[in-house]
């Protein structure tokens, strides 16, 4: 965004332009980047507010859904059916994802809980038993897909250094953009979250390495309106390094059935 245009609208332009006219080109070159940086340097609380409650599955207080996952591999494809249970109360978030099909994977479950203070605890159940994931396990692939454990968790200031970047568009959708840099070393250097300006839905994520190369890319390809809320209908995560992709198709969204506490208890994994 051109900072001069921003300051020229609804503001008295005279002082800014007068300053720039008199300071000459060198100073203009110095001031313009500073003005651009200041428009992006919103306090961390601003970025944190934008990502509060943001998840791949919408921002309902309690929702369960059936997700069909298609793994597009180099040498074929695989299908998985998942049951997703999401509960968000105040600042506390609980997510349970379990494989519904194929049958030989139905013991696999993913449980994550975030408390009011932002502390997240995640367990993964596989055929080898229940394992608590460490911070560095966030890059672990979930159910052999291109999604990692971290992708199913909310973004918090505790785990990421957040900053708001200039607005952008994704397709034809106007989006706010938040940059999240992991506080611990991982498989990527930073990710850009594209949040729909109109409905605050997570429209896309770009995962970039240190050199700025795009490693993975998530895009919400279709949405559905249920009870006045916007929920994902289809999405895709592409792994640009490996040349694979995982497509999600969400069906059977249930906002009415209460989710029992036992679903989100590690003892019941």
């Amino acid at each position: 965004m051109d900072p001069l245009r921003f300051y020229g609208r609804g503001w008295n332009p005279t002082p800014c332009r007068a300053i720039l006219r008199t300071m000459g080109i060198r100073l203009r070159l110095l001031v313009l980047p500073l003005l651009a940086a200041s428009s992006a340097g919103l306090p961390a609380q601003g970025a944190e507010t934008l990502v509060e409650g943001l998840s791949l599955f919408g921002s309902a207080r309690a929702v369960s859904m059936r997700v069909e996952m298609e793994l597009r591999l180099k040498n074929g494809r695989k299908d998985r059916s998942l049951d997703v249970f999401l509960r968000q109360v105040d600042r506390r978030t609980q997510v349970l994802i379990q494989v519904a099909a194929p049958a030989f994977l139905t013991s696999m479950k993913f449980l994550s809980m975030r408390d009011e203070g932002g502390l997240e605890t995640t367990w993964m159940k596989t055929s080898q038993g229940v394992r608590r994931l460490t911070d560095s396990s966030g890059g672990e692939r979930v159910f052999d897909s291109d999604f990692t454990a971290e992708d199913f968790l909310s973004v918090s200031a505790r785990r990421f250094a957040l900053a708001v970047l200039p607005d952008s568009t994704l397709g034809s959708t106007a989006c706010r953009v938040v940059e999240a840099r992991p506080r611990t070393a991982g498989s990527y250097a930073r990710k850009l979250l594209y949040i729909g300006a109109a409905d605050q839905s997570l429209r896309g994520i770009d995962f970039l390495d240190e050199g700025g190369t795009l490693i993975r890319r998530y895009r919400l390809t279709a949405t559905q309106i249920i009870d006045g809320g916007t929920y994902p209908q289809s999405a895709v995560m592409e792994n640009l390094r490996d040349g694979t992709a995982t497509a999600l198709s969400i069906s059977r969204v249930d906002l009415k059935t209460d989710l029992p506490d036992r679903l989100f208890n590690k003892g019941s994994l």
């Binding site: 605890t121 038993g129 608590r132 460490t134 560095s136 052999d144 070393a185």
Partner: protein, 442 residues
Amino acid sequence: MSRGSLPRRIAALSGFLLAVTAAGTLSADAVFGGRAGFTLGCLIDPAAPLSSTLDGALGFAPVLRVEDPLWGLEAGAAFAWKSGSAEAVPDLSRLFLSFAPADFLTARIGRFAYLPGAGGIASCTDWFAAFDLASLLAGGAAEPYRPGDMVQLGFSLGDLSLILTAMPFAPSWSLPDPDSPWFPDRDIPRSIHWTLFTEFDTYLTGITVKEGAAKDIMIGDVSVGVELSASLPYLDVSLLAYHGWDNTVLYRPSFSFPGGLTSDYGVELTPVARKIDAVGLDASFAWSSLSAWADASYTFSKTFLSDRLSVKDLAPFLVTAPLLEYAAGVGWQPEELPLILQAGYRGCLAFGAAEGTVLPYLAFHADAAAVLRLWEDRITAAVQAICSTSDWSGVAFGSLSFAPSSEFQANLSFPFFFGAADTELGQFTGNFHVSIGATAWF
């Protein structure tokens, strides 16, 4: 309540579960799948390779997931065979029904493995699963912990959970096989050197095993356990208590001298099933790329063998003492490397134990494992080592698996034993047991 044989119990349990499944399938999402595989093992005799013995197992573990809001059913079975035997021994490894009669309650009934310990073979609190040392040493597909027939209730309350478990039958202990290459020979003297008016030796003529352990249900012999778990920041903690059968059987050797005290002798092993009362503590911790776990259990009165012989029945005395067992381990899984490293240690302290008390195998041991994943996790190379710190003998298991897809895996495993011939694990130095296998999931 009448005693029931194993086949009758399985038939009754299976009939009940299948009837429930049929009713549940009518109104539920039913997903069928599972895995099938085989394992072929060869115990190579370096002195006579052509005389090596084969053993194997064919496994079939169907999974029928009836995911009505209330019901769930799983099943698994395997058939094991040995070379020279025309018999295939069936082994029902898993058959259980789970259901949720209330929001805070889940129930499970049937045969399954309940292993609350966090440290694998080193854990001290896996009381409900019979431990088979021979399966551990042989490697391959056989699991050292055998499942039990149980009823389990789980109560959830926020970050707390309470699990109540009852096992009406005795654990599926494995009887020792004196002809097995995994029989602990060092525990049985092959000869006795006599010094009377002259010196001479007498020799072992044979070993027999007496079936004496309780195997069927008896009133009042139900094993029960309770586990209270809490999920804290960075830490999962469980407090446990148990009353029931020990998950291992003590084998008491008694000597017989048919031709008189100075004649050749035989040994009869009498299994001694032990009832115990124990409390335990499990904890696991995760931070950054590190994980750690710790188990401890205190058995109020445990029975051991003594190295002193009773003149009356020519068998070792049995002694009892309280026993504290403890174990801990760490793991490191860096995100930037396809590597997992783990190490652990287990020890024990028998309070007030008389001199000559014989502690069980691997009472003091360290274990370590390294797992390397290559080629996008298609190849997994692993080494796991167990070292008895009481006599510095040990075993290292090497394994290599190839999984070109998530539906198929082939694997090769082989152990190396080291140590002196009279040590816990060194006595198996001559056993080179190579296993190959393949598993397909459908």
